[in-house]
């Protein structure tokens, strides 16, 4: 359930289906892709009934376009990440095949989650393009393109690893960047080890399945022990097969962690934006300062030790009129520069203010979500233990009857 400002009614969004399709791409080549059905329902306040208002199919690339657009137009927002395109941190049983139905299903859930995150974001939920994504069947891509977001995009934002020498960055952003690096590193590590643990656990459970087979064969030659062996063997089979559901549940937990792994990058993007703005600001200030200096030098005639001075010395004396013209040009540039600096400063401060507001919001969301995820992990473990107790209690009973 989400609240949306473009309608007074409450809106429900779901990615209800995923479908494999083939088609021709821009280069007229055959390709296979997955399309997702997005359904939007509005909920009447009075009776809580939901009515289907929109239903359309979008493919993966559309989601990416949407996100890229949002990144450009809302650089101060920690934009929710998309789920992974390729299965990573897999343990052996899960296939890393992107067309695998389990993976497609998890992707569907991830994309739905993405849309729900957007819809519940106080700023992003109001975006027109987002609204059209949910409602405009055809030509949505064209509409996005018309915004010219690609031209607006700062290509420097992509190069997250390049360094820009910024003299006075806001310390909080430095810390935040540091935090996002740590978060990314620790969650990756966690997911890697979790996959290995899952692998091993799978092995332990499955080997017990062999007992089932052998006990059954053995029971054939035993008179007194036969029944006990046979039924114990059955419980071993139950035990062995129980791991499949257990690990499937754990996969959802891993997906929750993965979302925050990807969120780390969104955080870094905001930090990078601040860095770039600060860099541009400092460059502009530097430029202004040098222009002012030139102006002063021209005015006072102390050119001898400046570059201007040297060149004019080389190319001959200039006339007083020429000098006047130059000073005037500089003065205009300085005026312009001061205006630009002022607005850049303002922009910078606005950005910092807005970004921090969203970062605070994000922090709370993160703490809440991750805590819930950890609790759900505990719940899963509890369920696994209860199942284990039951199976082994049954098996013990069979053994004691042998």
């Amino acid at each position: 359930m989400t609240e949306s400002n473009f309608s007074l009614k409450k809106i429900e969004i779901s990615v209800s289906e995923a479908e494999k399709r083939t088609g021709r791409n821009a280069m007229n080549m055959q390709e296979t892709y997955t399309a997702y059905l997005i359904e939007t329902r509005s909920v009447e306040h009075s009776d809580g009934q939901s009515v289907l208002t929109d239903s359309l199919w979008r493919r993966c690339s559309a989601f990416e376009w949407l996100r890229n657009y949002l990144l450009v137009y809302y650089p101060h927002v920690v934009v929710p990440p998309l789920p992974e395109k390729r299965a990573e941190f897999v343990w052996h049983k899960l296939s890393a095949d992107n067309m695998d139905p389990d993976f497609v299903e998890r992707r569907r859930i991830g994309l739905e989650n993405f849309l729900l995150r957007l819809a519940s974001h106080p700023i992003l939920c109001r975006d027109k393009i987002f609204y059209l994504f949910l409602t405009q069947e055809g030509n949505w891509k064209e509409t996005v393109n018309e915004t010219g977001f690609q031209l607006k995009a700062d290509s420097r934002l992509k190069a997250l690893n390049a360094t820009f020498r910024v003299k006075n960055p806001d310390k909080r952003f430095i810390e935040l960047k540091h935090y996002s690096d740590e978060l990314q590193s620790v969650i990756s590590h966690l997911l890697r080890v979790r996959a290995r643990v899952a692998d091993r656990l799978y092995g332990v459970y499955k080997v017990h399945g062999n007992y089932g087979r052998v006990f059954s064969e053995w029971s054939a030659i035993e008179k007194e022990m036969g029944d006990g062996l046979q039924s114990a063997g059955h419980h071993m089979d139950v035990y062995a097969s129980s791991i499949d559901d257990i690990l499937e549940d754990e996969e959802h937990y891993a997906d929750q962690l993965k979302e925050y792994l990807f969120y780390a990058e969104a955080l870094r993007a905001v930090c990078r934006k601040h860095e770039l703005m600060q860099y541009d600001l400092e460059m502009a200030a530097q430029d202004l300062a040098s222009k002012k200096q030139q102006c002063e030098e021209l005015a006072t005639g102390g050119e001898l030790f400046s570059i201007w001075g040297v060149t004019t010395q080389l190319f001959g004396q200039e006339t007083p009129e020429q000098r006047e013209a130059r000073i005037k040009m500089l003065e205009e540039q300085i005026k312009e520069g001061e205006q630009q600096l002022k607005s850049k400063n303002l922009e910078g401060r606005e950005f910092v203010k807005n970004a921090w507001a969203d970062i605070e919001r994000f922090k709370e969301q993160k703490n809440h979500d991750l805590k819930e995820a950890l609790i759900s992990y505990a719940v899963m473990q509890i369920s696994m233990c209860k199942k284990g107790i039951q199976v082994w209690t049954n098996a013990k009973e069979c053994f004691s009857k042998m």
């Binding site: 052996h92 049983k93 935090y179 740590e182 978060l183 620790v186 969650i187 590590h189 966690l190 080890v193 979790r194 290995r196 643990v197 692998d199 091993r200 656990l201 799978y202 092995g203 332990v204 499955k206 080997v207 017990h208 399945g209 062999n210 007992y211 089932g212 087979r213 052998v214 064969e217 053995w218 054939a220 030659i221 007194e224 022990m225 006990g228 114990a232 062995a240 097969s241 703490n367 991750l370 805590k371 950890l374 609790i375 992990y377 505990a378 719940v379 473990q381 509890i382 233990c385 209860k386 284990g388 107790i389 082994w392 209690t393 098996a395 013990k396 053994f399 004691s400 042998m402």
Partner: protein
């Protein structure tokens, strides 16, 4: 004299009470085994039909050697006591108590070997004293076993632990190997002591009581190696002829032994494999917990929750270690002993068949009048007696063995189930208390917000 000095004092000595060498039939050190992992996870149910060569008695895996560090030296758990009681045939009449302990290394110019201290306490009259202490090496046990087999070819002699390490061992004698062997040797002697017939065997008595020089001179008196070899060559020749008329009950017995042998071997492999998988699971879990601590260092609100999760995982690791230790105490040695027993049984069947074949060939010779009739008839008479004796001995011992096997297997697997239940109960308690603490905190925080 046998009726005296029984019950409480002697019995309490027999039960593990914290002395050296616990006589629980289970070992507290695993029989590490390593099965080639190529077959791992090929199908839903792992396929374990690999050839013998792949089954290593001991693996090079150094991590398995660490078992000693957390397995209790003395199995004083009630479970092991139950084992103890169960494997005695007639607990009230037990008057011979044996322990095998204190392995010691001996280095000579020719070789290095280990001796084990054997302490015998008895109230039997035919023993000169009530307490004996001797040192014996593996070779001596082997000698004893062979003497017993000679004297009672159709009795089910308890098995000895394996002679050689098959593959993969770097050192010939490492602590794990010695400890496992010691326990198995302890079991071996106690099984003999409990056997209604074998317990009175003279060689057994000498083994338990004779001083070193006395013992070695006695050993030399037995039939030489050559004659033993000669016997076995003849035995092979005889067995090659095939058993023409094995009585029905022995056909059944043979059938049972074949199938049992196959199954118990599989169970041995499966159990070793489970142990190995659990070990690897434990290794990964040990890395898993600390990552949460690492994470908590960069978090504020989440730090406590993360630390709690880490400590839960830690608790589960401890529970896993305990489960593994229980497995290696209660299950693995028992299953492995029966693997060796199944080999022993097949040898016993062969020997019985040989005796019968001897008779059959003489009978055949008689009917075809190949040799002196009178002499043959006399020989046949003797052989018929021999066959009857052998068959009866085997029959009686077979029933006894079946009963013991049933008890041992039942208790081994019941223990395994119990260990697993305990493991899951422990983990459940850990996670449930985590959950409670988190929800309590939640309520606390919620009420704080309201203030």
């Amino acid at each position: 004299m046998e009726g005296e000095c029984r019950a409480s004092p002697a019995r309490s000595w027999g039960l593990p009470a914290g002395g050296a060498g616990g006589d629980s039939p289970g070992g507290d050190v695993p029989l590490p085994g390593s099965i080639s992992s190529s077959a791992l996870l090929q199908t839903e149910v792992l396929d374990l039909d690999e050839d013998e060569d792949d089954l290593e008695v001991f693996s090079k895996d150094a991590s398995l050697m660490d078992m000693n560090s957390f397995s209790p030296l003395m199995p004083t758990s009630p479970l092991s006591m139950i084992n103890q009681v169960k494997f005695e045939d007639e607990p009230d009449l037990k008057d011979l108590f044996i322990t095998v302990d204190e392995p010691e290394s001996h280095v000579t110019t020719i070789e290095t070997f280990i001796t084990y201290r054997i302490i015998t306490k008895t109230s039997r009259g035919e023993f000169d004293s009530s307490e004996f202490e001797v040192r014996r090496r593996y070779q001596d046990f082997l000698w004893l076993k062979e003497k017993l087999e000679e004297a009672h070819p159709t009795l089910i002699i308890p098995p000895l632990p394996e002679k050689f390490i098959v593959k993969g061992m770097v050192e010939r004698f490492n602590d794990d190997f010695i400890e496992t062997r010691r326990k198995a040797l302890h079991k071996f002697l106690n099984r003999i002591a409990d056997h209604p017939t074998l317990t009175f065997n003279e060689d057994f008595k000498i083994f338990l009581t004779a001083e070193a020089w006395e013992f070695s001179s006695h050993k030399k008196q037995g039939p030489g190696l050559l004659s033993r070899m000669g016997q076995s060559v003849r035995a092979v020749a005889l067995s090659m002829k095939g058993v023409k008329s094995r009585p029905e009950e022995f056909m059944e017995m043979n059938n049972f032994i074949e199938i049992f042998s196959h199954k118990i071997n599989l169970i041995d492999k499966i159990s070793q494999r489970i142990y190995k998988e659990e070990r690897e699971y434990l290794d990964e879990m040990k890395e898993y917990g600390p990552i949460h601590i690492l994470w908590s260092a960069s978090e504020e609100d989440l730090a406590d929750t993360l630390k709690s999760v880490a400590s839960c995982i830690d608790e589960c690791c401890k529970a896993t270690e305990k489960r593994m230790s229980g497995l290696s105490e209660a299950l693995l040695p028992v299953v492995h002993e029966y693997v060796l027993y199944s080999e022993m049984l097949m040898a016993v069947m062969k020997r019985r068949d040989q005796i019968q074949t001897e008779l059959d060939s003489k009978v055949e010779a008689l009917t075809s009048k190949k040799a002196d009739t009178d002499l043959l008839t006399e020989e046949i008479g003797k052989l018929e007696d021999k066959v009857e004796c052998a068959n009866n001995a085997l029959k009686a011992d077979w029933d006894r063995w079946r009963q013991n096997m049933q008890n041992d297997i039942k208790s081994a697997f019941t223990n395994m189930a119990e260990e697993n239940i305990l493991y899951y109960e422990q983990c459940l308690a850990t996670w449930e208390s985590f959950l409670t603490s988190q929800t309590d905190l939640h309520l606390e925080e919620a009420s704080e917000d309201k203030l």
